[in-house]
């Protein structure tokens, strides 16, 4: 177990380093001198000498690789710079905006898992053509609808027509109902289809057929045999879905006016707040890595022979 965890972390280090390089060089190579831009923004009249002095002070005259190392060391001390727009430290900005996005994504993931299991298992077990077609139709329908449009439809139905909720939000917990519904419906449809296909595939395996001939009850076969074989790929899929939900939260937070990470990043795009964007990129990469890591751990625990097979890969397969 320990070697597995260590190995997994060791293989992640190059990827995380690569992400940090991507984040750093994207900012460093963006055209325009940051010192001049900053001075202009402040409305200060400056001479070339002052610019050179400031560049020296910020270490911008150093070779780019040295600057990257310095930046990386500061990053390890959780110093990610300041937001140009608000003047607060990037870390503080994250602390304010992160919880909402995490809650949103976690709730949506839970609801998707619940809905998809319900539909996927029912559709597979009853082998009902109607239900199967229904799941398939719904999955292609929900995959094709842009999430922003789904959100607007839900708002149209529940806020404008039925007037069950206020368009402006009320600050209570049920403000999250529609955002969570928007985020989870699409992924629930895809996952439901996956579950149904996996169960049907597993049911044609010899050992399941044997279990059926032996006269075991469907519930027992499902619990003891089928779930065991389909759970690992599902767990991996959930981790990937979690990342996608974090991405999707950008749109949903925008529509429902929720002050999460996505709104913060979008604002940073408009204000060209590079340090926020840089940190956002790194942070999302880190969250995505952690969720995949948890999925790998779960899989390791679920399947004993996993340790031989899985030494480096897992999430991307």
């Amino acid at each position: 177990m320990q070697t597995f965890i260590l190995k997994r972390i060791a293989t992640a280090i190059p990827t995380l380093l690569g992400m940090s390089m991507l984040g750093f060089f994207m900012v460093a190579l963006t055209p325009g001198d940051p010192v001049e831009m900053e001075l202009r923004r402040l409305g200060v009249i400056f001479t070339p000498d002052q610019v050179t002095a400031l560049r020296q002070e910020y270490g911008l005259d150093q070779p780019i690789f040295k600057r990257y190392l310095d930046w990386l060391i500061r990053l390890l001390h959780l110093d990610m710079g300041h937001s140009i727009a608000s003047g607060r430290s990037v870390l503080e900005e994250f602390k304010t905006h992160l919880p909402l996005t995490l809650i949103l994504a976690s709730l949506s993931l839970s609801l998707s898992i619940l809905l998809s299991s319900l539909f996927g298992i029912t559709a597979a077990l009853t082998r009902s053509q109607i239900l199967g077609s229904f799941v398939q139709f719904f999955s292609i329908f929900l995959v094709s609808i842009p999430s922003f449009w789904l959100a607007l439809l839900l708002l149209f139905i529940f806020a404008l027509s039925l007037e069950w909720i206020s368009l402006l939000g009320s600050g209570a917990w049920y403000d999250l109902v529609l955002p969570v519904l928007t985020l989870s419906l699409g992924s629930a449809a895809t996952m439901g289809r996956l579950i149904r296909d996996r169960i049907l595939a597993a049911m044609s395996e010899d050992y399941i057929r044997l279990a059926i001939t032996k006269g075991l009850s469907p519930a027992l076969i499902l619990r003891r045999h089928i779930l065991k074989s389909i759970l690992p790929p599902l767990v991996t899929n959930w981790a990937v879905t979690f990342g996608a939900l974090l991405g999707g939260s950008v749109i949903v937070e925008n529509i429902f006016n929720l002050p999460g990470l996505g709104q913060m990043a979008l604002q940073a795009v408009f204000e060209r707040d590079f340090s926020i964007l840089q940190a956002y990129l790194l942070f999302m990469g880190l969250i995505f890595f952690v969720s995949n890591f948890i999925a790998d751990l779960l899989n390791y625990w679920l399947t004993p022979h996993f340790r031989e097979q899985n030494s480096s890969q897992g999430a991307t397969e």
Partner: protein, 277 residues
Amino acid sequence: MKLLSLRTTPLGLNTGIILIGCLLLIAFFGENLAPHDPNKMDLLRRLEGMSWTYPLGTDHLGRDVLSRLMSGTLLSLGAAVMTAVTILFIALPIGLISAMLGGWVNHLLMRITDIFLAFPMIIFSLVIIGFLGASLNSAIIGVALAWWPSLARLVHTLTTDALSKDFVLASRQCGISPIKLVIRHILPQILPPLFVVMSLEMASILLVLSSLSFLGIGAQPPEAEWGAMLNEARPFFTERPGLLLAPGLLISLAVMGFNLLGEGIRHKLDNRSPFRW
């Protein structure tokens, strides 16, 4: 496993073909067929409901919504096609080179794709647009830069498969030049499945591009791109929800068309060749 399903029966494929066919017709002739000038403002007729003169009503500047939707089809679909082409331009050489050279080049390129694949695409696109400044061009570049790794992976796998064929081995033994090998033997093998995948990807590309425009960091008003039209109509949601429902419906239909088309073709090819997604 023979299962009757909407996605795989010809019904799905046919629906896809009809949907995309109609959209292409509108894209090419929409400008001429549109009942009004899509950019002509009439501030006296703002936010009007459906009528015989304005079948889908008018927007907040008194422009005809139907005409704007029709003339915006070319831009919306064209942007998605441009993105797909850009993705192929990056992914094809990288996938080919890594598969053919192998060794450390392969390792390096695959590790780089790993890094990119670690991010949800929309987040990566968003950050790139942040650095480039919001515009439709930035959105195309941002989406292409976020998307190429998965395609490069696919090209890599397909090329590795193609390279292991006996006739490819034979021509290599005969000392064929790498460029000739690629043009004569590799590309004809990998392009058909690649195009199928691209038609499936078109659906997701269209989704992401319109989402970015909807957020206001893709196509900018007054461009009649569907997502941008939605964004422009947002302040008038309570007054005229129809302004938001119409472009959204069109995006959904286009995405569904590409999904059905891609799934249908993929299924047809599946029966003939061992290619699997």
